[in-house]
């Protein structure tokens, strides 16, 4: 092998390993694909690698015939594959490429779906967290409705006693209509000795002495 052949052979060897510099890239591909011996060297190096890794290398005759046949079919295809990136939009809109699906398209779709689901989950979580914190601000901003009942258990009509109980369970809130209802149907329900509504009516009694 001449010095020139050695230089090109080393380029082909490095290209096979993906170990070429930016300046060597073009000459390496040129050497491997355009020289009369380039393809043979490229193929032989791969045969050596396959044999070393324990894979059965195919005969050269079969390879050359296979490639010759493929070349004939490739000449019928547009140069550079279906389209260059700049022409991708037009190619996708028309022609047979519109019906060809890449082998990894399904993977990409699932990844996009997973990403969208993650964003939606984060949005829901953030909204939930915000809604949990919002009632505190509401309570602090509305002392006229809840402040008095928090300090003295006076019977005051409230617009939403249920909601107020949920936010400040330790505060007893009274409702005149509820008290009247409870008194009228005391046999079914009850209040504690301190006239406070019990958390579980079955545990309370209207008559404290019967406990």
């Amino acid at each position: 092998m001449t010095d020139m052949d050695s230089e090109r052979g080393e380029l082909i060897s490095a290209l096979l390993d993906g170990e070429v510099s930016a300046a060597e890239l073009g000459p390496a591909v040129e050497a491997a694909s355009h020289l009369p011996q380039g393809l043979a060297v490229w193929h032989t190096y791969h045969v050596v690698g396959e044999a070393l890794r324990g894979r059965a290398p195919l005969a050269s005759g079969a390879d050359s015939l296979f490639l010759a046949r493929l070349r004939g079919r490739l000449t019928e295809e547009p140069a550079g594959g279906a389209a260059r990136p700049a022409e991708l939009g037009a190619a996708l809109a028309t022609g047979p490429l519109a019906q060809i699906e890449s082998a990894n398209d399904a993977v990409i779709r699932w990844k996009l779906l997973a990403g969208a689901a993650s964003l939606a989950a984060m949005a829901v979580l953030g909204w939930h967290m915000a809604s949990l914190q919002a009632p505190d601000a509401t309570v602090a901003a509305a002392p006229a409705h809840l402040g008095q009942s928090a300090t003295a258990p006076a019977a005051q009509p409230l617009a939403a006693p249920g909601a107020a109980l949920a936010q400040a369970p330790q505060v007893m809130l009274r409702d005149a209509r509820l008290d009247a209802l409870m008194a009228a149907h005391k046999q079914y329900g009850g209040t504690s000795a301190l006239q406070m509504p019990a958390g579980f009516l079955r545990n309370a009694t209207f008559d404290g002495s019967e406990r």
Partner: protein, 213 residues
């Protein structure tokens, strides 16, 4: 073409030569795609051969696989290895062909394999593929024997360099650390080892048909 060809950026890993060749193909150099064909033809045919018994059908499906890959090359995003992408195309093409053939009354039952085993990594040993004649199987084993003998005859530094690259799959910079030498020396040693081994098997490859490319 050389004046208008857009050269892609330098690859960053050992397997980025495939990405480089893909980009060069998209730039209009069809022979860059041929390098990929030469590189992966045997593996693709071996894969298809595990699904299909008919030798002629294996080659037809392999041809169709590379044609489909060529047409869809612009859709290869590089987020997976090129061979992984090509592998899926081959499996899909083989399955499609099998489905079409099953609806053909003249198809023989013995044309199909079970497609349970599609993982080529489960076969590390040299074994015959269904698309090879007994003569080609014997030739492949002879080539493997000559390669192993040539490896034994190599100087220690060359044998170590090519072993670390081809069998261990290490990058040049990793080999340089192990062998305590510059990366340029690693590259030279690997080339010289390949060339020494190739010189011994080249006559065997040329004798297959008398004409290679």
């Amino acid at each position: 073409m050389a004046g208008t060809t857009r050269f892609p950026p330098v690859p960053s890993g050992p397997n980025d030569s495939d990405l480089l060749l893909v980009e060069r193909t998209l730039a209009g150099d069809q022979r860059a795609f041929e390098l990929l064909v030469i590189k992966y033809q045997s593996r693709i045919q071996r894969l298809i051969g595990r699904m299909v018994r008919d030798v002629d059908l294996v080659e037809d499906i392999a041809q169709e696989t590379f044609i489909r890959a060529y047409r869809a090359l612009h859709q290869f995003r590089g987020d997976a290895q090129f061979y992984t992408w090509l592998y899926r195309i081959a499996v899909n093409t083989a399955k499609k062909s099998l489905m079409e053939l099953k609806h053909t009354p003249s198809v023989l039952e013995g044309s199909f394999h079970s497609s349970d085993d599609e993982d080529e990594t489960s076969q590390p040993k040299i074994e015959p593929t269904t698309d090879e004649t007994p003569e080609s199987v014997l030739a492949a084993k002879e080539i493997a024997g000559v390669v192993n003998a040539a490896m034994e005859a190599l100087p220690e530094d060359l044998r170590q360099a090519v072993t670390l690259r081809e069998i261990e799959g290490l990058a040049y910079d990793e080999i340089a650390v192990i062998m305590n030498c510059p990366i340029g020396t690693v590259r030279s040693r690997i080339f010289r080892a390949r060339e020494a081994i190739s010189a011994r098997i080249r006559p065997m490859l040329e004798n297959q048909t008398g004409k290679r490319w």
